[in-house]
C-alpha cells in the first residue's frame, strides 16, 4: 500500500478514518504542540494532544539552586506573561518567608503585571486571527504591544523575559515619564478597541468562524480544571485576583468579565473585556502611586523559610497559576511544582475537539491561548 503512488489514506481500526499528525512542526501550532488527529474526511474523530517537546526541566532546576537563583527562570516558564510569573514567584517567597513589601513596590508590580496581561492578550488576539487567516490584525496588535514592551523596557530593561521582581520589592524604581507613558498607552489602547471591534469583532467571517465553535461547557471546564479567560467564557466567574486577593489587588475596583456561551467568540469577548479592566486597574494604580522605597536596601539572599508545604496562586494572563513549594527549611526548595493554566486548558481539548473539523481545531486551540513552554515547563 505504501508502494502505490499517492498518499494512501491509511486505514485505522475504524473504516473511513485516518491519522493526521498536526505538529510539532506546523505553522499554526503555538510552539511545539503535536495533535494526533484521527480524521474522517475533515471531521475529527478523536484528538490526542502530545506534549513534551519544549521541556526544559524548570521544576528540577529549582531543586538545585537557591530561591533567588530561580528568579530568571520564572519568566521563561510562560514568556508571554513573564512579568506575572516573575512577580508571582517573588510574592510566593515573600509570603513563605514573611518578607514585607513596601506599598510603592506593590503598586509598581500591579501596573507592570496588568501591562503584561494586556500585552499577552494582544499577542493572543493577533495570533488567534493569524490562525484564522487574518494577517493584518496581527500586526496592528503588535504595534500596540510594542508600546507596552517599550514602557516595560524603560524600567526593567528587558522586553520579554523580565527579571524585575526581587524578594521584597522590584529592581528599579519608576519615574514620572513611565507613569505618563503608561497613561498615554491606556488612552491609546482604548481608542484602538473600536477599531478592533470593527475590523474583527463584527466581521461576519470572524463571527462565523467563532460562534458556536468549540463550546466548553461549565461541567467540562470544572472537570478539567480549566481556568482563566477560557473558564470565564464558560460562565464561571472565577478569578484569583478576586477569589483570593494577593499583592494588593483588593484595593482596586475592577470587574471580572464573564460570558456564558463558552465558544471561541465568548473567549474573544472575555479577553477584550479583560484588557479594558486591566486598563482600569492601571489607571487607579497610577493615581494611587505612593512615595517610598521600592524594596529592601540590600538584596535578600539567604532565606530561612519554615519547613513544610506551601501553595500560592495568582491569576496569570492564561488563568490560575499556582506554585506549590515543599520546603525543608534550607535556602533551596525541596520541590517546586507549578500548576500552569495552559496545561489544564489543553487537557480539556480532547473532549472539546471531538466531532469538530480540522479548520475548527485551529480556531479552538488558538482560542484557549496556550503557551507550550508553560505546559512542558
Amino acid at each position: 500500500m505504501r508502494q502505490s503512488a499517492g498518499p494512501t489514506l491509511e486505514r485505522t481500526d475504524e473504516a473511513d478514518t485516518y491519522y493526521l499528525n498536526m505538529g510539532p512542526q506546523h505553522p499554526s501550532m503555538h510552539g511545539v504542540l503535536r495533535l494526533l488527529l484521527k480524521l474522517r474526511g475533515e471531521e475529527i474523530v478523536t484528538c490526542e494532544p502530545v506534549i513534551g517537546y519544549a521541556h526544559r526541566a524548570h521544576e528540577k532546576m529549582a531543586e538545585n539552586r537557591n530561591y533567588i537563583m530561580f528568579i530568571p527562570n520564572t519568566s521563561r516558564v510562560d514568556y508571554l506573561s513573564g512579568m506575572i510569573y516573575n512577580i508571582a514567584f517573588c510574592q510566593a517567597i515573600e509570603k513563605l518567608c514573611s518578607i514585607e513589601v513596601p506599598e510603592r513596590a506593590e503598586v509598581i508590580r500591579i501596573i507592570a503585571c496588568e501591562l503584561n496581561r494586556i500585552q499577552s492578550h494582544l499577542l493572543w488576539f493577533g495570533t488567534f486571527l493569524l490562525d484564522l487567516g487574518g494577517i493584518t490584525p496581527f500586526l496592528y496588535c503588535f504595534d500596540d504591544r510594542e508600546e507596552i514592551l517599550d514602557i516595560l523596557d524603560r524600567v526593567t530593561g528587558s522586553r520579554l523575559t523580565y527579571a524585575y521582581g526581587r524578594f521584597g520589592g522590584v529592581t528599579m524604581d519608576v519615574d514620572q515619564d513611565f507613569l505618563v507613558r503608561t497613561l498615554a498607552f491606556v488612552k491609546r489602547i482604548r481608542s484602538r478597541f473600536p477599531m478592533y471591534e470593527k475590523l474583527v469583532g463584527e466581521n461576519v467571517i470572524f463571527r462565523e468562524r467563532c460562534e458556536g465553535v468549540g463550546v466548553i461547557t461549565p461541567e467540562v471546564a470544572r472537570q478539567y480544571g480549566v481556568s482563566g479567560p477560557t473558564l470565564r467564557a464558560s460562565g464561571i466567574g472565577y478569578d484569583v485576583r478576586r477569589a483570593e486577593p494577593y499583592g494588593g489587588y483588593d484595593r482596586f475596583d475592577f470587574e471580572i468579565p464573564t460570558r456564558t456561551a463558552g465558544d471561541c467568540m465568548a473567549r474573544f469577548e472575555v479577553r477584550m473585556a479583560e484588557m479594558e479592566q486591566s486598563c482600569r486597574i492601571i489607571e487607579q494604580a497610577v493615581a494611587a502611586m505612593p512615595e517610598g522605597p521600592i524594596g529592601p536596601k540590600k538584596l535578600v539572599q539567604r532565606l530561612k523559610p519554615p519547613e513544610g508545604m506551601f501553595y500560592f496562586a495568582v491569576e496569570s494572563a492564561r488563568g490560575h497559576f499556582g506554585q506549590y513549594i515543599l520546603s525543608d527549611g534550607s535556602n533551596t526548595p525541596l520541590k517546586l511544582k507549578m500548576r500552569t493554566p495552559s496545561f489544564s486548558n489543553l487537557s480539556a481539548m480532547e473532549t472539546v475537539l471531538e466531532g469538530t473539523m480540522v479548520a475548527d481545531t485551529i480556531a479552538i486551540v488558538g482560542s484557549i491561548d496556550i503557551v507550550m513552554p508553560e505546559i512542558d515547563r
Binding site: R65, N66, I68, M69, F70, I71, P72, N73, R76, T136, Y140, D143, E146, D150, D153, R154, V155, T156, G157, S158, T161, A163, R166, T171, M172, M195, K198, L199, V200, E202, N203, V204, I205, L299, Q301
Partner: protein, 191 residues
C-alpha cells in the same frame, strides 16, 4: 434574521473592515529600517555586564569577592584574583563572562558589594561561534600597572599618614601619660 438580511449585514461588516484597513494605508509607518536606523535604548537597557569606572580610582573596583559568581544562576562568570603584590586593596586579575549563557537577570549587579558592576550598552550582538566570552578587564589591563602604582603610592601615603597620625597620637598619648604620671608639682609661679 432571514438569510437575505444576514447576507446584507454580512457584506456591510465586510465593507467596514475594508474601510478600517484602507485608512491605515495613509498612516505613518511604525517600523524602523533596522540596520540603517537603530532603536533608542532605554535607560534601564540590559545587556552584558561591565565594570564601572570610579572617578576616585580611575579604574574598576572589583575585589574578587566571588559574590556574583556564587549567585549567578547560569554560572557564566569566571573570576580570579584577590590579594595582589604590592598593594593592600584586593583586585580581580581575570573577569570573564560567557554571554552565551547569561540570561541578563541582574542578580550579580544587585549583589555586588562594591557596586562596580553595571549593564553595558552593547547592542546588536551576533556571531558565528558558540563561545561568546567577554573579557571585562580588557579595557583596564593596560592601565593596571599604573593603577597599582598609584594605589601603592596612595596606600603608602595613607599608611604614612596613618603612621604619622599614629605617631602623633602616640606622642600625644605619651605626653599625656607622661603628664599624668608626673608628680603634681607646684605651679612655677607658685613656687
Amino acid at each position: 434574521m432571514t438569510l437575505a438580511a444576514r447576507t446584507v449585514h454580512g457584506f456591510h461588516t465586510l465593507l467596514t473592515g475594508l474601510g478600517v484597513t484602507f485608512k491605515q494605508i495613509f498612516k505613518r509607518n511604525v517600523t524602523l529600517q533596522y540596520p540603517h536606523e537603530k532603536p533608542e535604548l532605554s535607560k534601564a537597557y540590559r545587556s552584558l555586564i561591565k565594570l564601572k569606572r570610579f572617578d576616585e580610582l580611575d579604574s574598576h573596583d572589583c575585589v574578587a569577592c566571588m559574590q556574583c559568581v556564587k549567585i549567578c544562576p547560569s554560572a557564566c562568570i569566571t573570576i580570579e584574583g584577590g590579594k595582589v603584590d604590592g598593594i593592600k586593596r584586593k583586585r580581580a586579575t581575570l573577569f570573564e563572562v560567557d554571554f552565551a549563557l547569561c540570561s541578563v537577570c541582574g542578580l550579580c549587579i544587585d549583589v555586588c558589594p562594591t557596586d562596580t558592576l553595571e549593564y553595558s550598552r552593547l547592542y546588536d550582538e551576533a556571531g558565528y561561534e558558540r563561545a561568546w566570552t567577554y573579557d571585562l578587564l580588557a579595557e583596564f589591563r593596560e592601565e593596571e600597572p599604573a593603577f597599582r602604582e598609584r594605589q601603592r603610592v596612595q596606600e603608602e601615603q595613607e599608611a604614612a599618614e596613618k603612621e604619622a597620625k599614629r605617631l602623633a597620637a602616640e606622642q600625644a598619648k605619651a605626653a599625656k601619660e607622661a603628664q599624668a604620671s608626673k608628680p603634681p608639682d607646684a605651679p612655677e609661679g607658685t613656687t
